[in-house]
């Protein structure tokens, strides 16, 4: 139980948690807008990670420009995605949409493998590889970048939804599509923008996590599932819930794999999830919704 190890783990946990939070936010925004759980959300982070590696390594494009291209690419990607996986099924029940998003997820994974190969790729680091000394412990500077970028994005998002007209229109669409339509808000467009924004959040997550792990076709699957866990832990549909859930999960996971068992690292998220669903199904921030007789 030495103090500096714990601090290091907290830093690592916060960084991983931030990534989960970004992907979880993507889940929640889409869920709020169209009541659909997008099981390809993890792939929204895998695709931009590959795009970034490719742009930087093969075309030698500088990092800043790469980020801009990746974000624009993912914005378009999100719109195309919703057009294929969601739009044709928008009047149908929960199951077909779930399966169709899973199908697109499998498509993207195997597509990535064909285009970029099966070998894990490493993303060039935008930060130096030497550890930063903070509060007396050494911390990977990438962790600091991850946490700061996530905070900045959350700040931007708060401003966007609270202060801009577009953000308010998107919120109105999420709350009541019929009413929004009556007020002249182009609902279909708002939904498309929500998908675009959610996939841009994925781009941020993919680019930020890339330098920490290798970029592989499978990186999205676990990321997506754990982000989904985070969203449920926080209370599905709640934006602060998704963020807190992600960070909570990130930290718990690092500690549990250190103190309990690293072999079962990926199981902790789901064990916690099942416990939370049993004891407090509405999550930390969610409200219990009862069906009316």
């Amino acid at each position: 139980m030495d103090w500096s190890t714990n601090l290091q783990m907290i830093a690592a946990g916060l960084a991983m948690g931030s990534i989960y939070a970004l992907v979880a936010l993507g889940f929640v925004l889409i869920f709020n807008a169209v009541n659909v759980v997008n099981f390809a959300q993890g792939e929204f982070a895998m695709v931009p990670a590959f795009v970034t590696v490719w742009l930087m390594s093969s075309l030698n494009i500088p990092f800043a420009l790469t980020c801009v291209i990746a974000v624009i690419f993912m914005g378009i990607f999100g719109i195309v995605f919703q057009r294929i996986a969601y739009y044709p099924l928008r009047h149908r029940s929960f199951l077909p949409v779930v399966i169709s998003t899973i199908g697109v997820g499998i498509f993207l994974k195997n597509g990535a493998q064909i285009i970029f190969g099966a070998e894990p790729l490493s993303m060039p680091r935008p930060t130096s590889a030497t550890a930063l000394k903070m509060l007396g412990v050494f911390v990977d500077p990438q962790y600091v970048v991850v946490i700061l970028c996530t905070l900045a994005l959350l700040g931007f998002q708060y401003f966007f939804f609270e202060k801009t007209m577009l953000g308010k229109k998107m919120l109105a669409t999420a709350q009541d599509k019929e009413m929004a339509r009556l007020l002249g808000i182009p609902v279909a467009k708002m939904i498309a923008i929500t998908f675009a924004y959610s996939s841009i959040l994925g781009a941020a997550a993919g680019i930020l996590v890339g330098p920490i792990f290798f970029v592989t076709k499978d990186m999205g699957a676990m990321l997506g599932l754990k982000a989904f866990c985070s969203a449920i832990l926080g209370g599905f549909g709640s934006v602060p819930g998704a963020i807190m859930g992600g960070i909570f999960l990130g930290v718990i996971e690092v500690f549990a794999s250190y103190y309990i068992s690293s072999a079962y690292r990926d199981a902790f998220a789901f064990i916690i999830l099942i416990l939370v669903l049993l004891l407090r199904p509405q999550g930390f921030f969610g409200e219990k919704i009862a069906e009316k007789a």
């Binding site: 077909p96 697109v104 195997n110 599932l225």
Partner: protein, 616 residues
Amino acid sequence: MTTRLNRLLVPAVLVVAVLILPRLVTSNYWMNLINLSISLAVACLGLNIVLGYAGQLSLAQAAFWGVGAYTSAILTTQFGLPVWAGMFAAFFVAAFFGILLGIPTLKLSGHYLAMATIGFGIILQLILVNAIWLTKGSDGITQIPSPWIGSFELKAPGDFYYVAAVSLILFTWGAIHLKDSRVGRALMAIRENEMAAGTAGVDTTYYKILAFTLSAGYAGFGGWLFAHSCSHYISPDTFSFEQSVIMLVMAVLGGNGSAIGSIVGATLLTLLPEMLRFLKDSYMMFYAAGIVAIMIFMPSGIAGLVKSMPVSLRLRAWWNAGSTAARQVASAAAARENSGGKPNAFSIEDCTGSGEVLLSVKGLAKHFGGLKAVDGVDMEVRRGEIQALIGPNGSGKTTILNMLSGLYVPTSGEIALDGAVVTGQKPHVITAHGVARTFQNIRLFGELTVLDNVLIGQHSRSKAGLVAGIFRPGSQRTEEAALRLKALEALEFVGLRGKEFAEAKSLPYGRQRVLELARALVSDPKLLLLDEPAAGLNAAETEALVELLFQIRDRGITILLVEHDMSLVMNVSDHITVLNFGKKIAEGSADEVEHNQEVIDAYLGMEVATEVSNDA
């Protein structure tokens, strides 16, 4: 009788097809694939029980498949048990894991359930990888033995095929029998409308766990078939989340809810990738694109496509004509024509003791956070009367019905029915005590037939369990016949004769209301709760309803109804209780209530009421 004999053609054709297949397929490679598809088909049949029948999404089916495979593989390779013993172990150990999954996920639905089952599957797979002492970890288990019959080893794929084919036929037979039994109907009721299933007498908790258990058992058996055939080798990679997804797609492609559909789906999706081999690396992409396309263009799967074809319509009509249910309906209709008199209808409550207190409610309250929907209500309902519960919108009428029928647990207070305290009991328990209800916004089992809806209403008055439902001993057939007879009488009573095999949701609105009434009546209630039975009915239908209400009362069934149609309330009620803002403000006969100042105030608002009384 000839249709009955003709129906034997189906098993005959099946037996011939099963025997001939290995003669047609000579390559071991394809024979192995066929065995694999059968193994997957059995697992998908299980998925069809939990998803198609009970409507609960499970994304852990491959994990149960793995549990079955590993159980038998470990028992036969490490402990030297015979393969046949492994078969039973595979089924029961997987079923046990199904209970483990079923219990924590009971309260969950939709994406929560999906997520919990994914988590469960991933945890199981991690255990397979990491519990090396037991499972040999990622290396997997090799040289899993084949089953023996006497001194003959069923090693060749063409020989093992017979074991697989016989199992598949038995499991399909079980699944089809299950669907048309008391247990199967209870599962489908949960799928169609869980709340209504509870008030119709179905213990939703028990049946959901049962569905998960049985589904996992099927998957476990499928796993046994997999472990002891093909490569005789298993490793954790096979039993992944992706494989669960593939099984889900197989079940949905075949047609959700159709047992035969699941088999077709499993076979197609096992053989199809083989035919797509020429696409090399990109075949998974085509596969995935195919999944999306199926979801978009074939919403109800292959079963849905086939169902609407003229050939299959005629085939089904032919098959159904021979069914026991159809013959019973026909003979009941004939009997009715001959006798011409009134039907003797469902069993009649003993009318003695009329006037004594049947339902007594003391200090009943329900608070939602700060909102006091019902706040300390005392009321009594006397046996043999029609009592009305009225009040302005939001006064707590439906909340009281929900507490009486067990859908809400009261915050405080006591509910006693016929002397027994039933406060806070689950809906099916209260139904068994003799309370039935209808809903304000009709809650039928829409995709099921009219007859099935009324059969489910008798759930608490019948007994046949899972085993009896599948094997159909004489006692089960007698019970089914009695249930159908009573259902037919109830349908006759409310005027739905001739609609027995129509889908409930296809009925016009007014007919749906009386069907709901019939479903409630067949549970032999002492007390019938009706939530706005006249809502949405036209004048003629309302008149017929009033007539029905009197007839029901005359049969000794006490009625408590919530209704906004004042002329109906004043017409039928022996006694009226008036609520406002969760409190009782008046009660008495129609006449007393009509002239009660507080009631007038509550309905018209203080000011208007004063003006009205001044004018008068």
